[in-house]
Amino acid sequence: MSTQQQLDDHIIERYTAQPTRLPAELRRQIEHAWQGAPVQLYALADLDQSLRLTVAWLALGPRHIAVAQRESTGWHVRSVERSRIEAIREAPGLSANTLTILGASGEPALALLRYTHRQRRAFENIRFVLEEQIQGHERELVDGDADRLYAESVARPIRDAQALVSGRQTAVIRRLLGYLKPYRRQLTLGMAAATVITLVSLVPPYLAGHLIDRVVRPAQAGTLSLVQAAKVAWLAVAAMALVYLVRQPAVHVRLRLMSIIGEWVARDLRSELYEHIQRLSLAFFSRKRTGSLITRVSADTDRLWDFLAFGVVDVSLSLVMLAGLGTVLLTLDWRLGLVMTLPVPVFCWLIYRHSEEITRLFIRAWRKWSRVTDVLSDTIPGIRVVKAFNQEQREIERFGERNEDVTAEFNRIHASWTRFWPLLMLGVHMMTVAVWVFAVPRLLGSGAQLPVGTFVSFLLYTTMFGAPIEVIGQMARTINRATTSAHRVFEVLDTEPEIRDVAEPVRLEPVHGRVTFEHVTFGYDGVRQVLRGVSFDVTPGELIGLVGPSGGGKTTIVNLIARFYDVSGGTIRIDGVDLRRLDTGHYRRQIGMVLQDPYLFHGTVLENIRYGSQEAPLNQVVAAAQAANAHDFITKLQHGYDTVVGERGHTLSGGERQRVSIARAILHDPRILILDEATSSVDTETEREIQQALERLVAGRTVFAIAHRLSTLRKASRLFVIEDGRLIEHGTHAELLAKPEGQYRHLYELQLQLQ
């Protein structure tokens, strides 16, 4: 079983409370009813006819479907032959979907199932196969894929939101600490310094007590000579000085080393992450939000720095400190020691409780805060609409209201902690009072004897409890925050790129540009096929126009040629070699793409044109820009080719950006060129200029051009009409127009009417 499927099973178990499989005994029963034919797909119908939650199954085999319902004695299975199915209907609702499988018209439905959106993907898979059958296209299904497809379809939304299922926090922490390994020496040194600080700070109060009991009082009572006393006293002073002389350098070493190590680890994580992200396939990027990936590299690694540099040390040393304090106090005087140590766990617990409460307050404040930022991100980009409808006053009021709201929440948080901490400190002070209460009678001579010095040491030690108690109380939160960040980082690191090269990849030097599709099928997810068996053979130097209604699969075809995804069935060959056997990097260097919405990076025009070919000499850059009809407008810019463009720089118009990206493709000199609606978003005049540029560009290479305006493609050697994932017509412009009932002719006439 693949790890992917294990993860999906785990997600289903943990999050959905539904079976991870079709029950084995039911599967046997169904397959028995089908004379041993296998279950190829199945889905869980989790609503009954009166819309209560239930467990029923729909299974699909090579020749049958079966509906299984639970009865008191076991499963009731009803099988229907697939050949009887003539129509299929899905009615989507807010949360209840209905799938109706119909036989001959007028007859009762063969099956009617209701299910929530959680099950919808699994039903989609079955519906797709049945619809293909109704249309007369048989879909071959791989036996033994049923469990995987079912698990994937149910777990997918959760896996996309959070790929790594959180579980063992300790494992994550251990993995994180593993990043400290290369810096073991510095770490040991830093920890040693920190331990020194902790232990040394226990010395001064002890010295003070010792001085009073062993020196000051004997000297006052006359049992110790003044000379002797002075000698010991000065020694104590010297020891005190020594303590601080040792402590401060140790503080320096600790702060410095730990913050540096933290930075190093964060750096390592950041580059590992970025490198990994660059390698991941496009499929990953369509699942994750860009913002979330950016915060993982920036904010999350920063938070991990904080945890490694300070969190780890603070927490472990606070534990050492509390243990040290406890031991010292209990050995000095166990009765007073108990008075001091027993309440400590209670304080830690109170702080923990308080931070939980604050978290709850924060969720609410966060929600209200997002309502404030919503208004901002709505109205600032939409300010023209606000003004056009004269809604400024209303927007001001809307913002004001929400602003008030969120302030109230923040003040609630402030009220909570400002109430808590003084109360807690009162508790700590009461501990001191308790020490007094127990100590005073003993100082005055009743009960066990208590030397004054010991009492003074105690009072000094009391002041040292505050800080470690606070750290321990916050420990849960610190660790939680760090593991959350670590999870998010590791999730990316654990994602495998879906496109991987074979062991000994083939390098085509150069690519000639023959592109062959052999029965290519492809789906982005599940069973639904976006390409349903596409075959063609394109010879080097051809200009192929891809046309057809949107959603037909044109972009998908070029994505496959660029190997952004691998085919689900069939083969793509480049110069006769299976695309999957090629060295992807080497191959991609020989393809160029110009997309509808060209992307310019932040940088100069020159850098953008040179993006794929950094070494190109300047005269070639100019030549490429000239060929792309871009040279003219570039030289008009104040800084010429050195003008900074992109998000924060000089903004170019759509047509200008398009021509820069064409220049980029020309300079790159690809063997296979892909133009995906490269001229769709510009005006006619610009289109004409781009058109000329493209005509220069296509010479001597294989070109796939997708265009909405069919007139753009009149020069194509052949046109492929793609509809609903199939190649339905192909031929030259003239040939296709000659077909009286042709789809191309239909599209062409429609466009003529519009002009």
Binding site: A17, R89, G93, I158, A161, R360
Partner: protein, 166 residues
């Protein structure tokens, strides 16, 4: 200027619209010469659930528009009611048992009129407050959970929900 709606159940195409359930398990709409299997879509599921209903055929095209079911005959109205129950179905939460935060997602365990259920939302997806009060939560898969009156739930549920209601 007042705008008037083009189509309404009794306006164009002559004859009245009538609806019925057939053996094939679908709602059928008959209007003049034509009849089609349709599904119902509420235009204002939360603002005005009972009126402004779009009847859509299997190609997702509007076959008829019912501004007010009261315009229909008794039998059609009953058929429509039945279709609305399915189309408008959402989970009705009666008790909140647990709300836990995990990495990136929030995990909910609730009791609903339809049975116990666990679901997940993104951390930054907040429940939506509905026009007539009440709360609507959408989970990662797209299922909806409705809390008619959060303030009338038991004390523990209210405690758990506190951060999510105004």
């Amino acid at each position: 200027m007042t705008l008037t709606l083009g189509k309404s159940a009794t306006a164009t195409r002559g004859g009245a619209l009538s609806l019925e359930w057939r053996a094939d398990g679908s709602l059928w709409a008959m209007w003049g010469e034509e009849e089609r299997a349709v599904s119902v879509r509420r235009c204002f599921p939360w603002t005005e659930p009972a009126r402004h209903l779009s009847l859509r055929d299997t190609d997702e095209e509007e076959f008829a528009f019912v501004r007010d079911p009261a315009d229909l005959d008794q039998r059609s109205r009953a058929a429509l009611e039945r279709a609305l129950a399915v189309a408008g179905f959402v989970f009705e939460v009666t008790q909140v048992l647990e709300i836990e935060e995990e990495v990136e997602i929030r995990r909910w365990r609730v009791e609903t009129q339809q049975g116990p259920r666990t679901f997940q939302t993104r951390l930054d997806d907040w429940p939506r407050t509905l026009p007539h009060g009440g709360l609507l939560i959408r989970d990662l898969a797209g299922d909806l959970y409705h809390l008619v009156a959060p303030e009338r739930l038991d004390r523990e549920s209210r405690e758990l929900l506190w951060a999510f209601v105004d």
